[in-house]
């Protein structure tokens, strides 16, 4: 049976893992390859690197990080942030990544999803959707809008409609982040997740709001997510991947047991 994945996410700037709030007050937290390897040994089912390097400094640094990580952590690796063309995606994949996640670039140029899926297969193309709740009108269905640039810019896209369209265009997976919950540790927006997961056939990764193991259970059970991503709770060692998986297993969710990854 297909296991529900637990995915730690690492923010990377200039080749180093950083921690900060809203892209400011960044502190150096270590080497991405080392941290990825540690997470892999602790039971991570996949690693996501989010490149938050300023665009003009980017070229090459992330590729080296990916290359070093893929040489020592034998788990799936997804890279998000800053990839804007088929050729850039090719370079990231050739460096050792399995998937590339598109966010702002996909909103700006939706055909990029199609071009990359045709070249590398849809399984390598992840569409990251940052969604924010819209004020709910009386008796109307809850709606979410797509936001970009880390939540700083709004779009006129409906998040559910964009999710459906992104899959039609070629995305093989959706990484759905609630911008209302991101960084708040108030739990995932399971209503948003299930609204999307019930409309698409591709796997949905839940993101934004994890406070503890029970939230991972809720994201899968109520949000119908196939995988759950979190950054700070793992990074700050508030909870281990093992604790999260133990809670998921106790709730009857299929997981890949920790023993299968302990080196």
């Amino acid at each position: 049976m297909l296991a529900r994945r637990v995915i730690p996410c690492l923010d990377v700037a200039n080749g180093r893992v950083v921690k900060g709030t809203k892209f400011v007050n960044l502190t150096d937290e270590g080497d991405p390859a080392e941290l990825a390897e540690r997470y892999a040994h602790e039971g991570a089912d996949e690693i996501v690197f989010l490149d938050i390097t300023a665009a003009h400094e980017r070229r090459g640094t992330m590729l080296e990080v990916v290359r070093r990580t893929a040489s020592r952590a034998f788990v799936p690796l997804t890279v998000g942030g800053g990839v804007r063309s088929v050729d850039e995606m090719r370079d990231v994949l050739r460096a050792g990544a399995d998937k590339v996640s598109f966010n702002t670039a996909a909103v700006a140029t939706p055909s990029l999803l199609t071009a990359c899926a045709e070249r590398f297969g849809s399984q390598a193309v992840v569409c990251a959707i940052d969604a924010r709740r819209l004020p709910r009108e009386e008796a109307a269905q809850q709606r979410w809008e797509v936001v970009t640039h880390g939540g700083r810019r709004t779009t006129d896209l409906d998040a559910i409609e964009w999710a459906v369209r992104a899959v039609e265009l070629g995305a093989g997976e959706l990484l759905v982040t609630s911008m209302d919950r991101d960084g708040t540790r108030s739990g995932f927006d399971t209503e948003l997740l299930s609204a999307i997961a019930t409309r698409v056939r591709v796997p949905v990764i839940a993101s934004g709001g994890a406070a503890g193991p029970d939230d991972f259970v809720a994201a899968v059970r109520d949000g119908k997510a196939d995988a759950v991503l979190a950054a700070s709770i793992f990074h700050r060692r508030m909870y281990s991947i093992a604790e999260v998986k133990t809670a998921m297993a106790a709730a009857g969710l299929p997981i890949r047991p920790i023993e299968e990854s302990v080196a």
Partner: protein
């Protein structure tokens, strides 16, 4: 024969070459990347990796003159391992793009049936149909990493080593003599995956020793 077994990983533009070459090196193999037939000289085994579409994979293999050398290699009974798309193209045909593939195993690659999610992405259990040295030391039902929407339907039951279920069961591992195929990615499957690669390298070493290579073969 002394030293590590030498394994050629076929490079036909398939995306991620780093993981498979580093994983094979991590389990003790000497690895060469083969983008042309000449690079196959002197190796003990071939690995055909890959993700993507069957039709374009065959086109790229043909452009690089690798189709016939790979066929000849396998037909001579020498060790060869196909992974994911590299496994699918060991069979006669693929429904993905209606492509004619290598034809080393009878059967065709078909779309996954009744899959709750598609692509099938993530860690799924591999259930043994029969014991096989490729899975020695791996507990039955261990998780391996899958990324695919199609899988081969072998015409011969005898080649089937393991099955996995996503919707309906599909064949996730095959073996016939020194020819092996895996639908999952051992190079992305953590400890269990490295164990399978270790076993493969061991099988290659055993095959090499059984043949007792002559100087002519090495040259």
């Amino acid at each position: 024969m002394s030293g590590a077994v030498k394994i050629a990983v076929v490079d036909y533009g398939a995306a991620n070459m780093v993981s498979i070459t580093k994983a094979l090196a991590a389990v003790g193999a000497e690895v060469v990347v083969a983008a042309e037939p000449a690079a196959l000289a002197g190796v003990d085994a071939i690995v055909v990796p890959g993700v993507g579409a069957a039709a374009s994979a065959m086109t790229h293999l043909r452009e690089r003159g690798l189709v016939e050398p790979i066929r000849d290699w396998a037909r001579a009974g020498r060790p060869i391992l196909g992974i994911c798309l590299g496994y699918q193209i060991l069979f006669d045909r693929s429904d993905e793009g209606d492509a004619e593939t290598l034809g080393l195993l009878a059967g065709r690659t078909v779309g996954l049936v009744d899959a709750p999610t598609l692509p099938h992405i993530g860690w799924n259990t591999v259930e043994a149909v029969r014991p096989h040295p490729l899975f020695e030391g791996v507990a039955d039902g261990s998780h391996f990493y899958f990324v695919h929407s199609f899988a081969p339907a072998p015409a011969e039951e005898s080649v089937i080593v393991a099955r996995t279920t996503h919707g309906r069961p599909f064949v996730s591992a095959v073996a016939r003599g020194s020819l092996y195929g895996l639908q999952f990615h051992p190079e992305k499957s953590s400890k269990a995956g490295l164990r399978v690669l270790t076993n493969f390298v061991g099988l290659v070493a055993a095959a090499v020793n059984a043949v007792a290579p002559s100087a002519a073969e090495v040259a």
